[in-house]
Amino acid sequence: MNLRNTVGKLSAALLLATWLFLTSCASEPPSRFEQAQQQSTQKGASAVVKESEQGSEFNKFFPGDSGDYKVVFTQEKKGFAQAKLKQNGKEVALMSISDVLNNPQAKDKFQQSTEKIGGYPAVPSTSKGTAVLAGGFQVKILSQDPSFTESDRKTWLAKFNLNGIAGLK
């Protein structure tokens, strides 16, 4: 009886060990995006707060067409509006206005700002972008073509109606 018990326990332990070994081999390492996935799918999580400004309010503050350049509006969501800048039909930059209420840490980088555009703090943001903080709103231009340089980004940021944007609330 004792022997049978021992054998039983041993084989159960062996089975468990095999199972643990196999499952640990089978499962992949968690994705680097798993944390964002879990947090953003919790009850009550939302990416856009209801107090944020309607994207349609932003459109009138974008620069207009100029010379070879054309501004083509793309996304218009709550708290966000985006347009492509095209030069002779070729996409050279992405331009956007966003309400920082939806992503408050976006403001942090402006504390390091040493430069102003139109009187508002400006910083390099991501390796191909430049951003301005106008009141509670971030205005950003991202180059989509190497011909569109940092200096072009600053020139086009200055063409936004930054005072109008800052005055939204």
Partner: protein, 296 residues
């Protein structure tokens, strides 16, 4: 809740019949579509970013945006997935049976049923309507705005979106219905009843997202959608000199068929490809990332 967006993009295939078909259509929209797969790869391509912390921040924000149902990206994904009804088993079998260089169509004839003209016309129109609704969901435009969509087709469609429209014209228009597909679809939809529409299984699955209120109103919306786009389609075909013959010739790069079996090519592609879902996933990922990089 479906799969996370980063998994959907990471799991996009790099070699199946959908990919071979889209590559064969490169001559229609040269260089527009490169089959970018992988979430991080897509972030790199869209933003040109190499810094890992920044890539992480962009990816995290894109995931938050996708998972917020009020933002419409998930609904667009569901529509792209649902309107495609590929038989993946048949697709896998075709690849497995590949002898030498090409897939011999002959081995699959008994499993392929060519779509009659009425069903094919409905298929094409439903895919078009899904594109309009998904476009509005993704870009934040009211759901019935055919005019905004048509304007965007000319101004903004490029890359994976333009390839999807090219494939729609070629695979669901020119190949199954012939060079006068626009006229055929127009006439078929004009003679359709609300009952015909209700009997269509794809329509049943997506009808709650089609504007129009009732099947009758939805039929009208579908007709208006096709009428709104037919000039653009006609110009697309004539500007490129597209014909069924030219497309068959390019498809023969990977699938082998004789002239008396052309009717089966459309059925084969319909059953083995999911180009709407594939390129739709790529479009949604790109739009999320473009927004995320603006917001971080």
């Amino acid at each position: 809740m479906g799969k996370p967006i980063f998994e959907l993009v990471d799991e996009l295939p790099t070699n199946n019949i959908t990919i071979m078909t889209l590559r064969a259509l490169d001559f229609v929209v040269p260089g527009e579509w490169n089959n970018t797969v992988g979430f991080v790869n897509t972030i790199r391509e869209v933003t040109g970013e190499e810094d890992e912390d920044t890539i992480q921040a962009i990816g995290d924000r894109a995931i938050w945006l996708y998972n917020d149902k009020s933002q419409g990206y998930q609904r667009a994904m569901w529509l792209y997935q649902t309107v495609d009804n590929a038989d993946t088993a048949l697709g896998a079998a075709a690849i497995a049976n590949k002898v030498g260089e090409k897939i011999p169509l002959l081995g699959f004839l008994n499993r392929i049923t060519p779509n009659p003209q009425k069903a094919q016309s409905i298929d094409l129109c439903l895919k078009l309507v899904v594109e309009i609704v998904a476009f509005c969901q993704i870009n934040g435009i009211p759901g019935d705005s055919i005019g905004d969509f048509v304007g965007s087709l000319a101004e903004e469609y490029s890359g994976d979106s333009l390839m999807r429209m090219a494939a729609l014209i070629c695979i669901d228009g020119l190949i199954p219905l012939g060079p006068d597909f626009i006229l055929k679809v127009h006439n078929t939809i004009g003679n359709l009843s609300a009952g015909d529409l209700e009997n269509n299984s794809t329509f049943s699955s997506i009808s709650s997202f089609i504007p129009g209120g009732s099947p009758g109103g939805q039929l009208e919306f579908i007709g208006n959608a096709f009428d709104g786009v037919q000039d653009w389609m006609g110009n697309f075909v004539s500007d490129r000199g597209l014909s069924p013959g030219a497309i068959f010739q390019h498809l023969q790069g990977f699938v082998e068929f004789s002239d008396d079996k052309l009717d089966f090519v459309a059925g084969f592609l319909d059953m083995t490809t999911n180009y709407y879902e594939h390129t739709g996933t790529q479009t949604i990922a790109r739009k999320l990332i473009e927004r995320a990089v603006g917001e971080i």
